[in-house]
Symmetry: C2
Subunit: 339 residues, 2 copies
Amino acid sequence: MAHQVTIKDIAKHLNISVATVSRALRDMPDIKPETRQAVLDLAKEWDYQPNVLATSLVKSRTKTLGVIVPDLGYHFFSSVIKGIEAEALYRGYTLLLTQTGESYERELVNLQTLSRGQVEGFIISLSQETSNYDHINRLIRKGIPIVFFDRDAVGIDVSKVMVDNVGAAYEAVIHLYQNGCREIAFLAGPKSVTVSNQRIEGYRKALQDLNIPFKDELIVHGEYNLDKAIALTHGLMNLTDRPDGLVVVSDRLAVGSMMALRSKGISVPDEVSVVSFNDEPICSFLTPTLSSVAQPTTEIGRIATSLLINQIEDGQEFYKPQVRVLKTHLVIRESSRRK
Amino acid sequence: MAHQVTIKDIAKHLNISVATVSRALRDMPDIKPETRQAVLDLAKEWDYQPNVLATSLVKSRTKTLGVIVPDLGYHFFSSVIKGIEAEALYRGYTLLLTQTGESYERELVNLQTLSRGQVEGFIISLSQETSNYDHINRLIRKGIPIVFFDRDAVGIDVSKVMVDNVGAAYEAVIHLYQNGCREIAFLAGPKSVTVSNQRIEGYRKALQDLNIPFKDELIVHGEYNLDKAIALTHGLMNLTDRPDGLVVVSDRLAVGSMMALRSKGISVPDEVSVVSFNDEPICSFLTPTLSSVAQPTTEIGRIATSLLINQIEDGQEFYKPQVRVLKTHLVIRESSRRK
DNA sequence: GTGAAAGCGCTAACAC
DNA sequence: GTGTTAGCGCTTTCAC
């Protein structure tokens, strides 16, 4: 057998029609038990595999979802994907996984590639670089279901699974306060990043509720890279009123902050307490271990997938985009635990 | 336009045949420039996307590769995948990425799913649980090209991209010796894991060349989990001749070892120097930072992909499986740098 | 219960 | 240069 076995091969061998083989294979009614058995036996013997391409083509259904994330190397994304996989498997869907490397260009290419009839819907976390949403709007116009998670785009009317970043930052600040911090700084991401801005909002809200006057110089913005985080932390520590609490927008940047603090001989948590976001595995390996706000990654993946599949199966006309906002929880470790 | 635009729609609108449209779209010769232009313009205007399913079906070529790895959460794998993606993109192939979660069951399911005509070849890193290779052999018998990387299966005749684990461990031991270590222990993985065993071999070879007598009790085997690593390290440190050097089979286990050493008040690197494998990002975040043997991950991915595509395009009959063994390099950090 | 035939969207002879 | 036709592997009427 040089090529893959087809229903035609089976039909010919059994002297029946391909239609009958197809029916037998799919367990349809009105098939004589013996016929069915014969087909099933031969299929097994020849290791028959249905050609999904052909099925998809005739049914105009691929039962495949496209997933586009910035970087699988981030624990957050690989973790969300586990949730996506679980739900997709459960509902009988296959995944086409791609990463953009935070490049708008590659996001475009990936979207394009997957749109050529391979995918029934998309789960997308936008790249950092993406600020033009034509490619997304084009899909929406074509009626292709999309769900966003983590990275948002305001004004785009698709289903979204987000976390309560405002509440998360709020909780982090309150926690620092309860540990005795009174001069709390915030190391944020670029000013254009929604997630970062939402966390700033939570920070401000908490200060307000705590009756701590807000100071502009306590919020600093950086790119997502270590050196910048180190520099910014040094800057903060050189302020006349030195902060005694630090909220950092991500674990990776917090690594930089901790390095900076150590190099200055500032003890964590006693002189400066630190809390960050994402609860990546590294948090447990740092010295001191790092307090961090954990996101319900698997849940995010499951819900995004579930929303998407519902939308696919219910049909677009009857579907209104839904937005889900999930709760985070703070994992307290040494970096914010004062004696 | 409710459905996706097809060449038929374009043909009808332009009053030409689908064949002409197909030719124009693919830039074939013998097409009148005006005709071509008209087709191209309309295609653009209607945002025509070729249906790859149909093309694949008729050409019996999907230009898609299946990638099966244990866990995208491991930095090693997500890093190799970047290499795979780069090469696949370059050669015009798409990827179908799946993970097994180290489960044989899921490896089977993934392989099965991808085999239904979607994929022209596989890049596989076997799950930890896999000890039966029927599923692999079935593919080989069907003539589907396969390339293994990292996780090996002795006796399976497919192309493989591996690293020189023997040499890597050898280098690690020599390095420890040059730093003054004379009693060097090895914390290995389960006895069934090839990679671990190869590293043990390198360890023994180095001891031999260094004229250090080999002692059985200096090699301990554990599962891949933190608690076991901690316990085993404690065991080693309680030996009458306490080791002053420790080679650990993976960074993750090394984390456990470092914890154990710290809890016993043993200083690293001065009392015990530590070297491990994989050079995951955590190595730089530990205190002290961890020396580790780095694998050329991107290279592994690129080469595996290149071997696979060559095999696909050259045709099976003329192809002999190739084995590539890549060099590693030791990244020396604080955990093995004595003053 | 089963077969014949049309068709999913596209490509590739083979005509003309 | 372009059209006609068959066919990739499968599902689905519609007959009988």
